[in-house]
Amino acid sequence: MADLITPDLIDLDLDAADRHQATRSLAERLQAAGRVTDLDGFLADVRAREAQMPTGIEGGIGIPHARSAHVTQPTLGFGRSATGVDFGAEDGPAHLIFLIAAPEGGGAEHMTILASLARRLVHASFREALRQAPDPQTVVDLVNKEVLGQ
């Protein structure tokens, strides 16, 4: 299986006015990498999820995500915003944004990887390391090490 995340899926200087822009910006990277086949279809799926319950959580994290038929493989897009983007968390805007894309009907193996990614996101040390990461490759290495154990 190809990597969950690659350097071209990472934007360490994400510039977005709101969560839709932030999500679209990251989703475009996924599309460019061939991991999302239909950008608008995928964004509609993400918005549908976001509408049920905002995905922002305390500590400055936003996790827009969806299981979508327009996704080819489990993928993580990562954006870091200096100004912050509101994802509906009560304690303020999100500075770390994780766009999780899961293929519709993906096998249990795919889902297990995303599950362990989600579990890592709770750890303060993991978040802090992402905040400090100097370049995209560091982020990729971090995710591979923490989530896949590689």
Partner: protein
Amino acid sequence: MRIVAVTSCPTGIAHTYMAAEALEQAAQAAGHEIKVETQGAAGAEALPPADVAAADAVVFAADVEVRNRERFAGKPLVQASVKRAINDAPSLIAEAEAAARSAPAPQAAATTPVPTTKVEQGGGWGTKLRGWLMTGVSYMIPFVAAGGILIALGFMFGGAEVATKVNGGTFGGVEYPGVTDLSELLAQAGWAGVLFKIGATAFSMLVPILAGFIAFGMADRPGIVPGIVAGLLANEIGAGFLGGLVGGLLAGAIVLAIRRVRVPRGVAGIMPVVVIPLLSTLVVGALMLVVLGQPIAAATEGLTNWLDGLSGANAILLGVLLGLMMAFDMGGPVNKVAYTFGVAAVASGNLEVMAAVMVAGMTPPLGLALATVVRPRLFTSAEREAGEAAWLLGASFITEGAIPFAAADPVRVIPSLMVGSAVAAGMSMAFGNTLRAPHGGIFVVGLIGRPVLYLLALLAGMLVTTACVIVAKSIGRAAPAKVEPAAATG
């Protein structure tokens, strides 16, 4: 403290797992044991029922309906959104602690398989075994109640001979052919016969349900098929509820063993649907039929011959023996031998043996029913409900009313029942009571010789049963009862 939790969210790829991780960290930081079931897209690995049974509190962190939430009925429960678990898991854990502490007693649960005691604080085999047995018992109790009460109603409306009318045989010297074609049931045996037949059918499921849900308690859903088949076969080979209990435990163990085998991915897909049910049923069925069937048949024959040889012996001694046998397995092979011996004695003109056999079969449910009233704290709420039905069942000579208690705690309950039945049957023989009906309990009191003395024997046996059960259940409980409050705070 032991906590179980379920997390779930709409998509099932992110928050479900984040909440699980946050809860696990917070619980461990607070020094608790926690098991989390993530109902997400990666497939939910169900919490083992034994862990649910042993849990002091339950946490739901869920934005969508928790699946199979009835598993947790009666447990102290804290519910929150999945986000709250991620943002503030420690406060949820603290709430769970508070809920566990303010919960009445673990017995308060309604129909859940909750262990009554926490003798093994470490969650050893004793706790697990008890959790499994209670799972089976809690599903069996409605069958005992519904079936037993229907049978008793049949006796009430149709006289005790209704059972003989339906099944055939001799009652009070009258020969009945029995109903062979069920479409003739109403015409031949009346509505009382219909009540009896429905009740008897519900009763025929006692052992299969007990075995099936013991296996369910151990191995979850895949345990049901081999467990129920093991119970049906226990019926067939006349192994009674003890046979079903063993069969259920075997079925659960076999499923668990098969699951441990690593299989190629191509086979993994058909494991739960085809391979596990097929293999586990085959193995447990063969064990029941081939390994268990023959010894039981041999033992039955040996016991019968031995009893026949005792016919001329001291009457009171014979009564005590029959009493011990009647209460040993309540419908199982030993009980059957004693009962059949009583019925055969009636046919040969000895009416005293039947009277002793019947009184010995009435005291177990009655004594237990009284015990649940006198010392309700010693019983789970499921058992207390079974106790309410047990009054009528005992009075109707439906010994099966005692099975839920015996299956849940065989080591303490069965010997207690045996002592009480031995006293009752010995007294009945000493008083020279007679009975010419093969069943009916209190409804055939008119057919009993010296009925007042007979009732005295019944009362004495019942009181002895109650006393023995209370003493036996108190052993090994006094200490943990004191430990309990301390454990709740830690």
